[in-house]
Subunit: 408 residues, 2 copies
Amino acid sequence: MNRLNPPPRLLMGPGPINCYPRVLSAMSTQLIGQYDPVMTSYMNEVMGLYRQVFKTENQSTLLIDGTSRAGIEAVLVSCIEPGDKVLVPIFGRFGHLLKEISERAGADVHTIEVEWGQVFQPEQIEDAIKRVRPKVLALVQGDTSTTMLQPLEHIGEICRRYDVLFYSDATASIGGNPFETDKWQLDAVSVGLQKCLGGPSGSAPITLSDRYVDVVRGRHHVEAGIKAEHHQDAQGSRIRSNYFDIPMILDYWGEERLNHHTEATSMLYCARECAINLLEEGIDNSIARHKVNGDAMLQGAKGLNLEIFGDVSHKMTNVVGVYIPEAVNGDKIREQMLLDFNIEIGTSFGPLHGKIWRLGTMGYNARKDAVLHTLQSLETVLRRAGHKLSLGEAVDNAMTVYEENQNA
Amino acid sequence: MNRLNPPPRLLMGPGPINCYPRVLSAMSTQLIGQYDPVMTSYMNEVMGLYRQVFKTENQSTLLIDGTSRAGIEAVLVSCIEPGDKVLVPIFGRFGHLLKEISERAGADVHTIEVEWGQVFQPEQIEDAIKRVRPKVLALVQGDTSTTMLQPLEHIGEICRRYDVLFYSDATASIGGNPFETDKWQLDAVSVGLQKCLGGPSGSAPITLSDRYVDVVRGRHHVEAGIKAEHHQDAQGSRIRSNYFDIPMILDYWGEERLNHHTEATSMLYCARECAINLLEEGIDNSIARHKVNGDAMLQGAKGLNLEIFGDVSHKMTNVVGVYIPEAVNGDKIREQMLLDFNIEIGTSFGPLHGKIWRLGTMGYNARKDAVLHTLQSLETVLRRAGHKLSLGEAVDNAMTVYEENQNA
């Protein structure tokens, strides 16, 4: 049978992207048992590390064993009881996902929408909250489908005023854009590793405020096969999922260490290394690096005579959407980038499918050489496809961004 | 911050156990994009490999991104509509888990039980099916909580006769005990990597018969954010979970490659390597190896003057339960094994908590040296705790098993 030997792709799409080498190494570390004191100390360490990543003092900061949407579903299904009102402002694909997951959890979901490529003003969200009076506001921070970054800094205060739980998914944005769990008064946040944190998908760090935990603790039921005499079930309705039952997962990560799933040790090693890698660089330095490389890619794309998608003033640092020129075959360009240059750029979903490419500069790949190789290769492929552009302008634009930031 | 540097434990409990080195190496392989033709070829390869592992021709053979109970929940929540009858024969902790997950999915769950340490006769299950007339029979093959292996070979025929979907979880047993998906007429099987397959937890291979797929396809709904004009929703009720929605996951693993989660690439690499490792050894050889090492551990435990738990004629090959001698402190013995000898043995759950230890010989650790070191160390620790035993007898008993099997 074939040895595992994937080609050396440079992943410059909206994620997943190439992992930091130290993150890959961490995953090849031998296992220890799930109740080994060394293992539980790693679990506690991971909680502490992600408190720093999330900028929070929330005790309840831990990993959900699954991809980022596993974190989303865990947060939503644990707090939503059938009939609860949830408000979802939708500005891209992942807003639709929050709506759908909430509906499946039995929620009465209300939505507001802006066109893909735009974000919401706080007043729009406050108006909707006043009208709907939801239990939960579920709002994506960075939606890779549109490249937009929803400002969150004024939303938490509004939610507190109307006694709404404020949940955000920051998978696409964390580590490359500012995020402040406590300062912005968030009650629940979920992320993944496969964007600016530079890991693979498969582990979903989450953080939960005491307000959120109080709500879900009211639905706490201990699993029958491991129930002891001192365990009493809460009065609230049983959570619809066992795997995503946050009160039970808190028991596993907490002092009682009550067994739930078997922690995915290799992914925990990986999540730990992603956090350490970010914190050693410094969150602010990492955001600044994503900003410079994202700007270089943006200006480079303009130099390729490509039109930029959406409201650039609200773009994430780490991904940019560009319209596919009408004269070229978008899929063919992506195929040539992949097969001739080993560089992957992103396609799009839903209303943008076939209309824009997405160019990512995240995590390990938020690097000058990665940006320059991508721009050069795109220039070559577009030129040979007959797209009109000024040779060298893309790299020159990018170089200007790097020079300006060197002097800053 | 500390480098990841766990102690070199030998994991001889009920799992997780040490990974095969080649499996660890596979996880440190760099990523490729999720729609890269190389990636989709790996996904197809994984489907083919697990068809061999499961001994099935089921097209729908794939990975659920989560620990083994994620696979269980995906299988159950996708086929159970609220009010559906599910029959769960319970002979240990994981039967209780199948019951609980089915209840949370809205099922009307009926159970039959035998004492922990026993298994069911086919007639007992047939009688219950006749009485309950369930839509689904959910039955664990190997329940690590009791070390028992439920015979499945006659159950599928009974299920077909009464038009019942037959689902089994074989996480604890697969690769170390016979398993025949098609021959035994199973409709759904879920497993994990962390037992005899010698990987970490975090990926759950499943296989689904066409009968099962027909049932869940009747509940197929495409996600709003990626829905195209040619997509039509099925009439059946929406599955309660998005993450565990098998029809959507089949679209992602199938020809349409419709996006769902972002496949956890490192865990896919890992699952692939676990399967190749098993198939290169040969499933029958692997089962024989687990049998010999399990027998050696069993006879060795007797040589330590330990009483064996449960119906040994129905024990899994890869784990044995032994009563903790009354004169010793069970937790202290386990602690000394861990801290002085770097060897982990297992504790127990529920009614067996504090009463038995579980000694595993699985995957990479189903090895002569691992068994002998464990027996020697247990002898030392038990002797020093005042437990009466005959020095050297444990290793001699184990050696006899190895010698007999060498000559066989």
